[in-house]
Amino acid sequence: MDNSDRTPSQVTGIGLTFNWAHHVDISGYHTNHSAVGLMVKLNANALLQGRYDKVLLRKIRIFDNYIFRSNGEGMYIGHTGISGTTTGNSTPYGPPARMDSIEIYNNILDSLDWDGIQLSNALNGCKINNNFVRRYGIANIGSQQAGILSGGNISGVQVYNNMTVMVQVQVL
């Protein structure tokens, strides 16, 4: 996806997204200017199979991707309305589906208005490693300024061999 010639207000689409899936590899993906670079999450829905205690989004690997310029997060992985009660980020069907065994590695993310890599709602065996996140939190909005954000609701995550550089210096 290349939206490099568009203004932020013209770019409302997510670069790549999927929801009801497991055992997925995402590799070799590149986007230049998107609303969110990559999104993986499943909202709780009316079908029983879409409830948090019926489906587990597991074994998803995200590696060797290049995400440049996003108006929101570079990667939004896992639903952040964890308990299903967050206003504006929940449905009437309870907590959203959990994830498990998510691996995010060897990615480059650059020029992101919000967080760089956000992994949430992923229970066990998750790793975030060997990523380079540069120029994140450009919009300077509270709670949207992490190079790498894991959580909430993550058990025993490993975060290693990453480099994050905010670059923007607003304090003189």
């Binding site: 964890i82 308990s83 299903g84 009660t85 907590p95 540069r134 939190g137 300077n140 509270g142 300024q145 190079g147 790498i148 954000l149 894991s150 959580g151 909430g152 609701n153 993550i154 058990s155 025993g156 995550v157 490993q158 975060v159 290693y160 061999n161 990453n162 480099m163 994050t164 550089v165 905010m166 670059v167 923007q168 210096v169 607003q170 304090v171």
Partner: protein, 97 residues
Amino acid sequence: MFGYNTSNVYHNIVDSVRSGSGIEHGAYLKRNSVYPEIVSPLVPVVTGNIFKNAENYAVYTAPNPETTGGSVTGNILSITRTIRWLIIPGLWLIITQ
């Protein structure tokens, strides 16, 4: 990081964490409750990282009772330019361009 059980943060490089509000940490770790699961305490292990230019603490572990044990050891805080060249000369060239 907002999680639970033993969580490891190691061998990362974090440079220039600044918002202008004076509240940004190099690494922030906290255990928070989740419904409907009942989750264990957070045991943070933060070791062997390099933190530079964080406007607040390099490593901040939220002092709530559900965060227990763990360790924060062997991290390099606010290194000099000279040391940075010694450690990652190639990577630093990329950053400054």
